[in-house]
């Protein structure tokens, strides 16, 4: 709502203007950042990096300087402990370090899979001997009752994805919505507001809608023009509706708030709640249920 108030003011202030400014922010020691995942049926993986000074630009050569390479990373799933191996990865043509996955170092076959109901313990020891840890549970999946597409009034072919959810009658369920258009998106993408919990809807059956997510700072034509945030007639949409644990929910609730606040004078700048001990970021668990919508 605060963003909304901000919009109101801006709308009224025809004389407002903005300019680029340079700020001299204090330098602080970089901290280790965890971007870790356990997903049903997939080997767990972790991307490790370091935080950097706020205005340092990132050029092609510089990306790897933020990557946290050479760390000792293990995951315990209640039965066994496996070490995650660091892979040489190429992302969009750029080689990237700091990507660790639960694969065999020789065969490259998975050594562990995400299983619903298990609790995973992550332990990291970096090259400079910093220790980080986290624990997260892979929740049982909760499927949506139904999903559909509806054109927005006044808009010819564009609209939102809709779903009906019946929340189980036990408080504490947390969710994240993501979706992908076949042939148009490489990944499942989440719009702002994708993370929610059942605090106010416990045990109820209700309808909700979702905008279309995009890659951050995307410059694709359908992300910057009138199609931005909307699905279109003819899209085949795969919905990945995930049950997540509380740590994942809290991280994304705060991160989405921070992203949408971005300097708003109506918000107090605040840090994102992390479930990592000794570092930043999140060790996330995703338990998905899939649906397909043919938009027509």
């Amino acid at each position: 709502m605060k963003q909304f108030l901000y919009l109101i003011i801006i709308a009224f202030v025809f004389a407002s203007c903005e300019e680029n400014i340079s700020l001299d922010l204090p330098r602080e020691d970089p901290r280790v950042v965890v971007d870790g995942y356990v997903e049903t049926g997939l080997p767990p993986y972790v991307i490790l990096s370091r935080s950097s000074s706020y205005f340092d630009p990132i050029n092609p050569g510089a990306l790897n300087s933020f990557a946290e390479s050479g760390a000792f990373v293990t995951i315990y799933d209640g039965v066994k402990t496996v070490q995650l191996i660091e892979l040489d990865t190429v992302v969009n043509g750029v080689s990237l370090k700091g990507f660790y996955a639960a694969l065999d170092s020789v065969t490259k076959l998975p050594t562990m899979f995400g299983e619903e109901g298990r609790t995973y313990q992550l332990t990291i020891i970096t090259k400079d001997n910093q220790q980080l840890s986290s624990t997260a549970k892979l929740q049982p999946h909760i499927a949506l009752d139904s999903t559909w597409f509806k054109v927005q009034e006044n808009l010819d072919s564009l609209g939102l994805a809709w779903a009906n959810l019946t929340d189980p009658d036990s408080i504490g369920n947390c969710y994240r919505w993501m979706a992908k258009r076949i042939t148009k998106d490489d990944l499942f993408l989440a719009p702002l507001g994708s993370a929610f919990e059942d605090k106010f809807i416990n045990g109820q059956s209700f309808v909700f809608n979702a905008f279309r997510g995009q890659i951050p700072n995307s410059t694709k034509p359908d992300d910057i023009k009138e199609e931005a945030g909307l699905f279109k007639k003819g899209d085949t949409i795969i919905v990945k509706f995930c049950a997540v644990d509380r740590g994942t929910f809290e991280f994304w609730r705060d991160a989405e708030t921070q992203i949408s606040n971005n300097g708003s004078p109506f918000a107090v700048p605040s840090n994102i709640k992390s479930n990592i001990t000794g570092g930043l970021g999140v060790f996330a668990t995703y338990s998905p249920a899939y649906d397909t919508i043919i938009a027509q």
Binding site: L5, S16, C17, N209, S264, L280
Partner: protein, 812 residues
Amino acid sequence: MKKLIALFVLHFLLFNQIVLAQAPTPSKVTVSGYISDASTGERMIGAAVYFKEIEKAVSCNAYGFYSMSVAPGTYTIVFSYVGFVTNEAKYTLTKSQSINIELKPRVIETQEVIVSAQKQERNIQSTEMSKIEVGIDQIKALPALMGEVDVLKAIQLLPGVKSAGEGNSGFYVRGGGPDQNLILLDEAVVYNASHLFGFFSVFNSDAIKNVSLTKGGMPAQYGGRLSSVLDISMKDGNNKEVHGEGGIGYIASRFTLEGPIVKDKASFIVSGRRTFIDLFLREPFVPANSRIAGNSYYFYDLNGKINYTISNKDRLYLSCYLGKDVFNFRSPETGFKVKIPWGNATAAFRWNHLFNEKLFVNNSLIFTNYNFEFGAAQQQFDFKIFSGIRDYSLKSDFNWYPTVLHNVKFGMNYIYHRFTPTNVSARSGDVQFDLGEVKRYYAHDLAVYVNDDWEIDDQWKVSGGLRFSMFEHVGPFTRYIQDPLNTNNIIDSVSYKTGDKVKMYAKVEPRFNVRYQINNRSSIKASFTQNYQYIHLASFGSVSLPTDVWVPSTDKVKPQFSTQYALGYFKNLKKNTFETSVEVYYKTMENLIEYREGVTPDQDVKNNADNNFVFGKGDSYGAEFFIKKNQGKLTGWVGYTLSYTNRQFAEINYGKEFPAKYDRRHDCSIVLNYQKSKKWTFGAVWVYSTGDALTLPSQKYFASTTPPVSVGANGEINLNNNFNVLSLYQARNSFRQKAYHRLDISATYHGKKHKHYEGSWVFSIYNVYSRKNPYFIYFNVDGNSVDGNLSVQAKQVSLFGLIPSVTYNFKF
């Protein structure tokens, strides 16, 4: 509650004692009465009565009443008020008598601007320090944003008072927060004093008589806030003849009508103001099917007052205020609709009674209400937030003038509060979300006080007072108990029935001012005051907004408490043409509240807001320099403040002390008025202040928005670019925005005066050199990390460049 009733009884017993003790002493006679404006009948607040032979003076109270006891004899009594013809006459006083005086407005070749409505040496002679009165005429002569004369913006030009900047409703006095200012309109508390998120104040200048601000050394009759009292008096209404005035401005128009109901006995005033931009956002200007149809904003204010003089001893007043902002928004793309109405209503019924020539009382019955609502709908979703505060209060304020050396004020004030902190309701189609029951807090708030202004000798004068305040939070109330390990979990609740005591506080607040008069032209003053504040404004944002909610002191929230020491040197120069002062102050504040870091508004739902508060302390110190020129063609003032304001909360900023957002090292204002001729008046205001303290991210880091791995056709694992840039904040308020400065000018052209009509044009320019003052800073992220072209650019948004405006004002 029984205790409260007992206190009431005690209070009235005490008052009876005093009434009974009023047998006049034969060695003294008392002169008392009212001073009013001969042209309108308006009672004159602060007009001076001076007894030449004994060199003693007294000034009128807020109802234009004065009283002075002297030995029988013949005296030259001078009645004066700046801008009015002084009335001087000899009186032979053999017994107590009433002298009511009407002063005529002074008509001179070039009309003199009234800078202050006080007796010229009052700033030297009174014990009051840290108090400033600004005449409404002076405020009207200042350049104003879009031509809307603004009382709140004018007082922010005084030293020690800081503007929160454009687009912010609060003001800050000596390092205190915006909730620490008591804003009174004819005795009624106004909780939200601005329109359009702070761009304009709710006070319509045409309906206002007088404005006074006390920023330190608060006398005992005021309480309930730590920092300041802004006391605004509405006009009573002309009791001689019917008059109207109004104006057509850039964004709003005004109209006021006043006149006698029964000549010299009863009068009325009604005054209205409304913006009109919304009238152009509908048919026929905007077709109903247009994209912008359905969007609108307006605000209005209505002031009304009637008074009736029953006799020389009794007078009744009824004053009302109603103001509202309404915002409508609709987006055809998303089907999103919003309606936000909010506003204040106040009503005060007052009865002035004169028991005898030495004892005056004003009894008030006051109602005040503030409501905020936010309703949003999108498709089958409905979402509503509402909050507010409603008070019923009863006040008795006595002025007792036992001898020429004493001026005693005593009284009591009782308020019954009903707080409605943020309540939310939401539904999707037929499904109602479970957002808990409507939460309310109820509280009794009682204070009794006594204050004596005692002139010990020609040099020494003291003003000492005690205020005894009690606050009781009562049921119905549900206390939710959080799991100490996970504050998200409510593990239990305790219910209180209607009237049950939840928590009670009883406190004593000493107030002390002393003056040492060096000579007729200079004095030194010092003050020591302690204040308690039982109500608190909880804000999620870093600026104050209508969405902020008032909450009472509870078992969890202790009353805010402050101690202030101030010392000042006051000197008048060139026959009172210049008033100068230097004041230094030191203030400590305890039990300040903030939301815990990272708390989001949803965490208040099905919970007590105060479960999410953290508590801390603050201090503030500084020096204020003030030079004011009262007379001549050129009038105005220069004020400069050097100050420091810090906060410390165990759970914020790792427990380390940090500067308050509005900690401003330097704050300066220059205000000038030049009366060139009968036709032309010019005004200029220049303000400068150190930039706000701000929390900015020190580092950035990455997290993929969604799982970034995809499995390729051959089973290979692909990592995709889906990185978000996130911010890491370290020290709170460790960064400074650029300094704020701005020049505004105005020119007023007074048209030819007709017998029954006069008009004037006000031309003003806001921000003459179009300074780009910072409003907020945001960060623009371009490119992405994997393509290697990611860059972060800080951008500063400024609100107003140069804004010219024209207003036409008329009177008949």
